[in-house]
Symmetry: C7
């Protein structure tokens, strides 16, 4: 049985749209441009979402991994 | 007496359906595709649950271990 | 005077019923099947408790140590 | 001037009654049987206290250091 | 596929205006003058924002990375 | 310009009365008997304070550094 | 482009008045006398502030870095 390492799955999502859910419920949607081993995330063309709808355009954004709950490609 | 190491139990649950409970009460259900030593988790065909019922389809999702309370195969 | 190391006390509770109290007040009861040095815990035949009464059967469950407040054999 | 190292003070309290205060206000009273460098604590004959009065008998209990606010011999 | 490392993106934003979002919702806007690997941040001509509007002038400010949710150039 | 290292300032306060402020607002007053590099603290003749007034006598107390906000000699 | 390292900016503020903002909103104002790599801070002639006004004189105070949100010289 092969294990899909979380960072490998992240790597395979580069240049793809992802949703990033944060502690407290905030979510961001954008194109995954980068990450590091702390799961710090770089999104491009990012929007902040509320109830799934964009409420604010952030463009390029670095999200600190410490706040990340989930990333869904 | 043999100790069942938590990561070994996770390993034995690969490709099986699991429920992942997070801080704050959110839960996800899906097929366990991967994990790492921080208990970062990869689920496939994941649903977000509320009161045990699916409220949102996430599909593939990486969950940061820092938020995980429990994993139940 | 001999010190009883917390992990040794855990080890001596293997295969015994324990109650695990988590941050936020949730509690689990089950048979202690395993643990590691982060106090990640494996319970078998686990129930989630509310006010001391089982409210949900989880069966096999891995609890992340980070959330554990106490373990009582 | 001699420094009393916190872990030495804990060591000197072995086999003595202590009160352990946790984050969120819960307190436990019992006989200190052990500890480790993370200030994980082993109490025997432990009671959970509310407003200083026992509300629940836990007996033997391992408390994860991460939750400990204070220990008072 | 090239990964844009979060710290590299930060580096490329030096001397540019950025918005820094913190846990709890506070935001700061200023010129990014520095950072380190913990994502501690130095802003110049920084304003504290509420609902996107400046409510307080801080000037030079060091923000501890532990509190940072996102940085948007 | 000489830097006063926080642990040196603590060391110079040994045997002196200090106030220790914790997360959540609790404060303790007592004689500083010891500390370690995690800023775990040993107080003697310690009182718990509310609005600056003693509400509970703890005597000897070990305070886990993780909870400490400030120490004022 | 030169990076201003956060700890260097702190160093340059030694002996100067600073405002230190903490998690939960408390702020302290005083003369920066010292710090260490955890951003533990030593202030002299420190006041606790509420809505920007001094509400309590602490004098010499050691602030644990873990609680610091920002430092503004």
């Amino acid at each position: 049985m092969t294990v899909q390492r979380p960072l490998d799955v992240l790597h395979n999502s580069l240049e793809s749209p992802v949703i990033v859910g944060l502690k407290g419920g905030r979510e961001y949607r954008g194109t995954l441009k980068g990450y590091d081993m702390h799961i710090n995330i770089v999104l491009q063309n990012a929007d902040e979402l509320k109830d799934g709808k964009p409420v604010r355009r952030l463009g390029l954004v670095i999200i600190r991994g410490d706040n990340v709950v989930f990333i869904s490609p």
